[in-house]
Amino acid sequence: MAQRIDVKDLDIYYGDFHAVADVSMTIDPRSVTAFIGPSGCGKSTFLRTLNRMHEVIPGARVEGTVAMEGVDLYGDDIDPVAVRRQVGMVFQRPNPFPTMSIQENVLAGVKLVNKRISKADAADLVEQSLVGANLWNEVKDRLDKPGAGLSGGQQQRLCIARAIAVKPDVLLMDEPCSALDPISTLAIEDLIAELKQSYTIVIVTHNMQQAARVSDRTAFFNIAGTGKPGRLIEMGDTGTMFSSPTEKATEDYISGRFG
């Protein structure tokens, strides 16, 4: 299930614009890795290269390697569609499919791979995924109601259920709580702590307390100025990063003396 990711000398470009420069890092399986840093520093862009979602934007390209258990995701014979089935993603704003019921939403990804899933298997998978996303008790009586009718926090957990229903190896979360109230945020954070038992989780967050609460390791990205590429400044155990970071820039950012 959970897999380790090795990123080596990764540069990301949008056309001529050099967005992120020279990132190398290792992301451990069964752990939560948090990316922090000021807006525009490239942490979301970098996150999206881990499942090749950045390619949705025309002109985007990368140099370097992203290897999952030794297999380069950017190898010539690798299909981005297959990568995305292996690496799930949860977005900043909850985005359940509005035309689908709760149950259909959970099954949306599964139906792409396995069109003939039996009713019983589908029901099992829906329950299992919704339980996994801590949402089952709240929605079990209205699985056929529209997913868009849930609260924001419930919608985000529905999106997590949808992502884990396809049984990915890695789960990417791009500021998953930034559109949610504190109570929903807490629910998602608890969920992240449970999910890391079986998945490799990478989370981008603007909330430093959140990074400190949920992550095992933290990576700090920064940008030298407008138009310059973002860089990975420092990465380490979350405890160390927040108590005694090596770099001055990290300390300034964490203690709020910066942007």
């Binding site: 979602m53 569609v81 977005f91 509005p98 035309t99 990804g109 791979v113 529209p146 396809v166």
Partner: protein
């Protein structure tokens, strides 16, 4: 919001200066929009009243009496048995046109919105819009002079190989002044409006939902199926209804192409089978006696009723899945 800050000495003059004008604008805007809404209702009502009033003589006169004054009215018919085949022909033409145009329009619109490189998409968009600007007489001419000759052999082929389907029953007429040819021209005519509506709706699919599908490992077509098409459903129906409205009322193209007949016939490759209401009005209007004009207007009333019924049915279809429309 109507709540205002507690009036302080500084805030008061600003409020005095702004509020009355805002209120004035508010009121003016409300009047204009209410007026526009009322106007369209009034126009519709006026048309309906005109149609009913002018159609009344024909509706209340026995068929035999109409037939005495009007040459083209069958002697043994009542008004209903006269208008029946026309309603049938009109619906047949419009449905055939829609069946051909809607899938093609969705395909073109998807190509423009999701597949074509941007410059090609823009050029193609203009080309489709240009199709809409061609007057229907020109389409009629093109259909009657060029298309009829071109499709003749194809229709013959259809009749000989698929003739066992009642729709394609032969012999195919030469020249091909038949319903299927007219429907092809109608399809070309309604293509631009349906394509334009679909394209706009497809382009408005939230990026969020497209990315959600892609992140689940959807290919481009799967992404379109899970995110774009469901979102665009009501828009596609609206576009199709606009097209259907035009196809139902289209006069010149049908008049110039179709060799008319007054049968309940599905034989769309044979001549002299069907006629549409609008084309029939145009064909007979010039030399009709007063009771004849009234009869034609009564068929117009029937067209009016059909169009309204079709539109209401379409709305009902769209509204049935309102909860899932994504409008919230």
């Amino acid at each position: 919001m109507t709540s205002t800050a507690p009036p302080t000495a500084r805030a008061t003059p600003a409020r005095r200066r702004r509020t009355p004008r805002d209120r004035g604008m508010n009121r003016a805007f409300r009047l204009v929009s209410t007026g526009s809404g009322a106007l369209i209702l009034a126009v519709l009502a006026a048309v309906a009243i005109f149609l009913v009033a002018r159609a009344w003589p024909a509706l209340t006169t026995p068929g035999a009496e109409i037939a005495q004054d009007v040459g083209w009215f069958p002697a043994d018919a009542s008004f209903l048995s006269f208008v029946g085949p026309l309603v049938f022909g009109t619906l047949l033409a419009a449905v055939l046109a829609l069946v051909m145009a809607v899938p093609l329009s969705i395909g073109i619109a998807l190509f423009i919105s999701h597949y074509a490189p941007r410059r090609l998409a823009t050029a193609l968009g203009y080309a489709v819009d240009l199709l809409a600007a061609i007057p229907s007489v020109v389409y009629g001419l093109w259909g009657a002079m060029t298309l009829v000759g071109f499709v003749g052999p194809i229709w013959e082929w259809l009749a000989s190989f698929l003739g066992w389907i009642p729709l394609f029953e032969g012999p195919a007429a030469t020249p091909a002044r038949v319903m299927l040819t007219a429907a092809v021209v109608l399809a070309v005519m309604i293509l631009p409006i349906i394509t334009a509506v679909c394209r706009e709706v497809f382009l408005q699919t939230p990026k969020l939902h497209e990315e959600a599908a892609l992140a689940l490992g959807a290919t481009r077509w799967e992404m379109i199926r899970t995110a774009v098409l469901p979102f665009a459903r009501s828009g596609i129906v609206s576009g199709a209804m606009l097209g259907l409205g035009r196809a139902l009322g289209e006069t010149m193209a049908v008049l110039m192409i179709l060799s008319p007949g007054f049968l309940y016939s599905f034989a769309i490759l044979q001549a002299g089978q069907q006629q549409t209401i609008a084309a029939n009005i145009a064909a007979q209007y010039a030399d009709a006696a007063p009771i004849g004009v009234s009869t034609l207007i009564a068929t117009g009333l029937a067209l009016f009723v059909i169009t309204m019924a079709v539109n209401m049915a379409a709305r009902a279809i769209v509204a049935r899945r309102k909860d899932f429309s994504g409008a919230n």
